[in-house]
């Protein structure tokens, strides 16, 4: 267990990788290409939104005071002055006073002099007279000028990854060209003499390269552009040359594989040759043999070989490096609180991440070897067991970080 003593805590590894990268300056994209991009600046409202008092119902613009005390049996009787046309401002020669009203469709501008709208359902039209059978309060059924956003107000913060709802806000404030961070390029190098490409039929002793696909899709998920460098033999010159090319072309590089100690040591030594190894071992299970370093100034992560270990390290550690790079500041994982339905044992002294399956409001651990993909694919997320605990017992409430 001596190996864990040299491994740094997860928290420290997260802090370190978060400082290893910073967002890349971007440019701007047209609004309809902005979904899921990361905002490079705060976005403010250019004008009051809406720019005028608007009705939120089909009805009659009135002075609220004129409807005071009316009822089904004793309606107010107002002269109909005309109709507001959608898309035009209210005309000043037809102002509302206490004995007149004007029809306003939903979204139409409140007529001058009106301070509320009576829903059409609460009125009756009799010739040129409108009978109002329910009172309205001042401001009722009206969105005030600037009520949604007021001119100059910050609508969205820099670092926001743009959601569909954010797209609506950008449209409302006239942000037709959206200032965004660049999409980082992240190199993916697979190492290991046992690896063959996905399209190959592996011989005995060989396995297909799984981690490149896992890493690439994870990077896409976080808004990066993965650049694949294929499978590199476990030979010093080959890996050094590929890494050299990758750091020239990318903003950060992930090296996956090298599952045996010898391979990991070689990866670390190559990184050290033209840079520095900052971390060689994290107190996390699975995923301990993770390397964090810099090669010619570019962040490089050496991932453990087992797919499930790799995926846990991507989620728990690499995620923070990538969001530092994309500039995303609101990247909180989805979590769910559930009850433990089967004991989750763990070893004190390191953080353990257990793949789990959620059923209803309960959670079951999936104890698969970290070399297995099937438990990873069938799991719903991870339960973190802190370093100071010996697991969780049936009936305890735990938080699942959902995939």
């Amino acid at each position: 267990m001596g190996l864990f003593l040299s491994a740094i805590p997860v928290e420290e590894a997260v802090r370190l990788v978060s400082r290893l990268a910073s967002p890349i300056p971007g440019g701007s994209v047209p609004l309809n290409r902005a979904y899921q991009r990361v905002l490079a600046t705060d976005i403010t409202a250019d004008l009051d939104i809406p720019g005028f008092d608007r009705s939120v119902v089909d009805g009659y613009g009135v002075r609220a005071a004129a409807t005071s005390g009316v009822s089904e049996s004793v309606p107010a009787m107002l002269n109909l002055l005309g109709r507001v046309t959608m898309g035009t401002g209210p005309s000043s020669d037809r102002a509302i006073s206490s004995d007149v009203c004007a029809y306003v469709p939903t979204g139409g501008a409140l007529p001058i002099g009106a301070d509320a709208v009576v829903m059409i359902e609460h009125t009756e039209l009799a010739g040129d007279l409108v009978l109002v059978r329910r009172p309205v309060a001042q401001g009722e059924n009206v969105i005030r000028k600037g009520e949604d956003f007021s001119a100059g107000e910050v609508v969205l913060r820099q670092g926001t990854r743009i959601s569909p709802r954010d797209m609506g806000a950008l449209a409302a404030v006239g942000c037709a060209e959206v200032p965004v961070r660049a999409v980082p390029s992240v190199g993916v190098i697979s190492t290991g003499n046992e690896l063959v490409p996905v399209e190959a039929v592996p011989s005995i002793g060989e396995v297909r390269d799984v981690n490149a696909a896992l890493c690439g899709a994870f990077l896409e998920h976080l808004g990066c552009n993965p650049v694949y460098y294929g499978i590199v033999r476990d030979e010093r010159e080959a890996l050094d040359a590929t890494l050299e090319r990758a750091v020239r072309e990318c903003d950060t590089v992930l090296i996956s594989g090298g599952s045996s100690k010898d391979d990991r040591d070689m990866t670390a030594s190559i990184i050290a040759g033209r840079g520095e190894v900052l971390v060689h071992g994290i107190a996390i299970a699975p995923g301990k043999p993770t390397i964090i370093g810099r090669f010619q100034g570019i962040p490089v992560i050496g991932l453990p070989g087992h797919p499930a270990s790799t995926y846990v390290v991507l989620e728990v550690i690499v995620r923070h490096l990538i969001t530092a790079l994309t500039g995303e500041t609101n990247a909180l994982p989805q979590v769910r609180r559930v009850l433990v339905r089967e004991n989750i044992p763990s070893v004190r002294g390191r953080e353990e991440y257990i793949r789990v399956k959620i059923e209803g409001d309960g959670v079951y651990p999936m104890f698969g070897k970290s070399g297995l993909l099937n438990t990873l694919v069938r799991s719903d997320g991870l339960v973190r067991v802190p370093a100071g605990r010996e697991g969780f017992e049936i009936g305890e409430e735990v938080e699942v970080v959902l995939w």
Copy 2:
């Protein structure tokens, strides 16, 4: 309130839209373009994965029986026969018997004759002798041939939207070309004489087109390709012509806007002109004035004009039409159970969807007019109040459908 009587229940609307579309045949894409696509067929393992017994640690391949009863003080002493080389099969002329062992790196093939691997941490090398200080059980530290996936086993089901973890499974089973459904094209038409493009400065009475951006990003989020038809004036011929073009070019069409009753009635009448209006009004708040129809055989949805209403209808109703179209079968929304911290009132007789803000394990309703974007942007999701309830009270547990 008579309007609600003619409106159909949410459940019925969901059933109806789900039957309105079916997945479009696709083709295949290379694995590294497959992330987030929808599988068109079940994927089976082409071979046993892994194809041989593999060590999951760095250690020595042994016969488990040879380590029976060993301890720190009384180790087994085995002759070191050699090393397994990564990527090659075990050599048959160096079989393990009860007095010999061979070094195996993590991921290496188990030597012939061995049935377990002792971790290197539990051994000591003394010349050609390996001292084993802990017993291992049969199969310990070994992944068996076919343990991850066995040949012919279904690894991923048709209709799965491919996650990063699924990408790993596809790689493992040699799925270099992935059979996927086509990406549907969905037309987005904005109507309303009050609308101006996002880049314009609205005059009094005018507002920028927000719903096209909301709809477009929502469609991208669900894996569709939005096709924008811009803003169409509320004129019968113009809308009819645009709709005619959109149904020729797209697999389904969303018409947003037309917030006033007159506009909605015109939209319904145009759809009826070359097709049928199936639903005109859903018992949902916000979002009641929703139209479901077919125009020249193509599904068409008329969305309510208010942005927040539009978004609720997209999430609650349109989502099911879109997933029927993409063929996605595992499209469950993320939900979280939280406690009500402020009463959520509602009107019995229709489903109400309340935008909410989550804080810790509690939830607060955000009572904004449905014409407002700011509450939509700042909310975390929706709480559904069933038609038979009058809301929720402080302290009750509710489920939030997260955006």
